[in-house]
């Protein structure tokens, strides 16, 4: 298992090298990417602010939980922080497992938990020069239906 908060660009091909074993028949790589719009506004980039020491711990816990639940320890998750442009990868989650259901379940669990409790915030930079913090979720609050503007 591997997890990290990084300031440098995330290389998808590298993340795939962190997983995979001869016993695994399925690999799954999820990439969260900064997109060019949100809630109807044109986005030029995104600044991620992160409580780095705590995020490293929480991310590691989330990966542990996914590993226990899915029954595979071939999981690598990297979350980026700092200034990102449109098209750059903000989070990469790679999982490999003997059977595909395990990889899909672990991958989805990790991204959903990241959005619920990883101490990370993002401020969108709009094409018109304005900036705004992306509305987030209060950690520990009951689940609500996924928001239309979540990636």
């Amino acid at each position: 298992m591997f997890s990290a908060i990084v300031r440098e660009p995330i290389e998808p091909a590298y993340v795939l090298t962190l997983i995979g074993a001869d016993q695994d028949g399925a690999s799954l790589l999820f990439l969260g990417v900064v997109r060019d719009h949100n809630a109807g506004r044109s986005v030029g980039g995104m600044r991620y602010d992160t409580y780095e020491e705590m995020a490293a711990e929480v991310l590691s816990e989330i990966v542990d939980e996914a590993a226990r639940s899915a029954g595979t320890d071939r999981i690598a998750t990297i979350h980026r922080t700092g200034e990102l442009e449109v098209g750059e990868v903000s989070v990469a989650i790679a999982v490999s497992s003997p059977h595909r259901a395990q990889a899909y379940d672990a991958s989805r669990y990790i991204i959903e938990e990241i959005k619920k409790r990883l101490p990370v915030w993002k401020k969108e930079r709009y094409s018109d020069g304005a900036e705004e913090w992306v509305e987030g979720r209060t950690p520990g609050a009951p689940d609500v239906a996924p928001k239309a503007d979540g990636s």
């Binding site: 989070v91 990241i114 990883l118 209060t138």
Partner: protein
Amino acid sequence: MEIRTLFFASYKELLGTGELQVDLPEGATVSDLVSALRARGGAFTVLPAAPAVAVNLTYTDPTSLLSDGDEVALIPPVAGG
């Protein structure tokens, strides 16, 4: 006792600082810390009365007792991914 208090994202912008040392009496809870901050007035009054809080890197209940030297972070709604 001295509590190292951290602010992130919108809270940090609001208060103009990412960190404050706060002096509290023994026996104070997370909730007492938040009240003490809000009692400073000005921008501090805009902090929620019950924000999410992490003590020493772990999400913690408002009723938790604090200890000298604790690092307490007020966590705005998160938006990772």
